[in-house]
Subunit: 384 residues, 2 copies
């Protein structure tokens, strides 16, 4: 297996895009390629994610992006795995390059939903759930994650402020991230006073609907004779699945796919959680960040929410979690989210995270969940 690097990464500002998904995707893809010092002609395959492109009447978006980049002959495919789509795409790029099938590949995730009303957007999101058993009966994601939050609160007698601390921390980080949808801090008072969406989840427990695009260029070490950026070495690229429906799971105090993917990833990287400097995790709801930290092995079960309240996961603390602001405050343009987590790692390791630097950025882990954990991807990166 060849050593494989991330050599470029770019994102637009999440929020509301005026341009179409294909235009945004092409633009950030070109930025990521230019940043890597490669030319579009060096790209051997384009892996796109755009789960809800059909809402823009556009499927088969890869060839359109490649046309825009001036590389029409390059093959492409669209990779979907609900909210973990672009980390699944990154996994494909990794396998192609590490396996020696390609020297360089492009990963680009994009989503545009702002042309839809909230009900329509929620319906699109809900296709990630099990339709006949969940979505059809009204169990969309806020309700499903509320179930996980209820189980956690019941098991560990947590306080509202613990989840509030996660929201506050991610908003504080996003306030320093020019790519973020919400660039403002919130107070505990604002959090506690925000309306209940699906009990016990309040408005500020939930990530927003965001438009956005993010791109990553993956290349073999041996192909990058003169890297112009500080490359991220991909130490692990692991994915796993899980029983999808909650009624079929042995417990609700974590996501089985995340535990399994983390186990694989640490084994692949020959590393342990102690060796990770900072994390980008999938905090579609605040409860998801707490579960992630436990599933990944950073905190014992039932303690992550408490640790968050104590500030351990703050940007400048011992274990910075979501220095980008996370899905919660940076935003969650579904198919762009996984790639966007890698953009944050890239910016941190390349000194591009101005004003939101973590204390140490030698190693990092990204964790990206599909739906309520039917899929999960975990990637581990380090400097050379």
């Amino acid at each position: 297996m060849r050593e494989t690097w991330v050599v470029g990464a770019a994102s637009n500002r999440f929020g509301k895009m005026k341009e179409s998904g294909r235009e945004a995707a092409t633009r950030v893809a070109m930025e990521a390629i230019l940043q890597s010092g490669l030319a579009p002609k060096d790209i051997g395959y384009t892996f796109v994610s755009n789960a809800f492109g059909i809402s823009e009447h556009q499927g088969h978006i890869g060839p359109l992006i490649n046309n825009g980049l001036g590389i029409p002959g390059v093959p492409s495919a669209t990779i979907e795995s609900a909210c973990s789509s672009s980390s699944a795409a990154l996994h494909e790029a990794f396998v192609h390059v590490a396996g020696g099938f390609l020297d360089a590949a492009l990963v680009v995730g994009v989503e545009k939903l702002s042309h839809l009303d909230t009900l329509a957007a929620t319906s699109y999101f809900a296709v990630g759930a099990d339709y006949p058993f969940e979505a059809k009966n009204g169990a969309t994601f806020p309700g499903l994650y509320a179930t996980l939050a209820s189980a956690y609160r019941h098991a560990y007698s947590t306080k509202d402020e613990m989840f509030g601390a996660i929201a506050l921390k991610n908003h504080a980080n996003a306030a320093r991230n020019p790519h973020a949808h919400f660039q403002k801090e919130i107070s505990m008072e604002t959090y506690l006073g925000s309306p209940m969406i699906a009990s016990p989840l309040r408005l500020y427990d939930c990530c927003p609907f965001s438009d956005g695009a993010a791109a990553v260029v993956v290349a073999a070490k041996e192909f990058m004779t003169r890297p112009v950026t500080e490359p991220l070495v991909i130490r692990a690229s692991a994915r796993a699945g899980s029983v999808t429906d909650m009624q079929d799971r042995p417990d609700l105090l974590g996501l089985p796919s995340a535990r399994l993917a983390a186990e694989k990833a640490f084994r692949q990287a020959k590393m342990s959680p102690k060796e990770i400097d900072f994390l980008e995790v999938h905090d579609c709801f605040t409860i998801a960040e707490a579960l992630a930290l436990e599933d990944l092995g950073f905190f014992p079960r039932g303690t992550a929410a408490q640790e968050s309240l104590e500030g351990v996961t703050a940007r400048d603390a011992k274990l910075p979690v979501n220095p980008s602001g996370g899905l919660k405050a940076k935003g969650h343009p579904v198919s762009a989210t996984g790639a966007s987590q890698v953009v944050e790692v890239f910016e941190q390791m390349n000194g591009l995270a101005k004003g939101r630097e973590v204390p140490k950025a030698e190693t990092a882990l990204t964790h990206n969940v599909g739906a309520t954990g039917g899929s999960c991807s975990v990637h581990i990166f380090s400097r050379r």
Copy 2:
């Protein structure tokens, strides 16, 4: 690179499915796995294609299929490349297995459209085109392929009967294929008398909307210590892209992506067209079969339609093309089509194509096109 095989392949009967896409996909996936002699637990990754699953309110279908197979922990991703989706999924499976990342992978393509009316189904298909430039202006696939047919007829002064011959041959083959949507022969009179859909394409020049599911199991030679089927050795798995819009192409007498993918595939396999015993090609319209045979290098430009009229591509002739009946008559359940072509090759090489055997089945090629050629996959198979 490890020698990689297709060790199982299954399909339902194309046409109208009563069950949902996920149910059909799970059923054929299990059939393909059982046929291979492997157990579901041997599968390391599931690559699904289901481009229009959203019409059934269902995305993220991989975990649901894996749940149904009893392997919830196995990772999955959905691969879309318009009508070439499941051949793109096969390419991923090939790369993972040949690269040594997995020992065995499942590819399953499924589409259900029969719950939609024709206008809605056409709109779904049209997302494979370039929306702002093509579909939005009414250029859906019958019109786009009619443009290709007009260019061909103009350049080579062909007769209606040449395209009729392609339709008749594929209907004759489908009449012997239990998986086929249309299991009846048609006469030249019927063909010539059928209504014009998009001049010069008549009704019988066009493939139908079909529901269907097809699955393929891919495994490393070294993993299959005791194969229970006659495996197909994957000699080549190649994909390419192309300028998408016709107004931007240098000529309309072929699909650039097909030429490029064929070139790559023959180079990879170290073979030439002369060494291929039979073909499954992407005949979404009769013109597409003629173009395919020329793009792949089996006939000089401008001659394939004439050769078809002369019977050269009949099932029992020199170069059998689409012994399954092709998209034209076997049917075209978009995301199942690429996998279904491999099912035909598998059945021919395993003596399972009862009553429609080709004279020689030592080697075969499959050609699967996305949209009007924005993507194309070419695979070459041989017996051990």
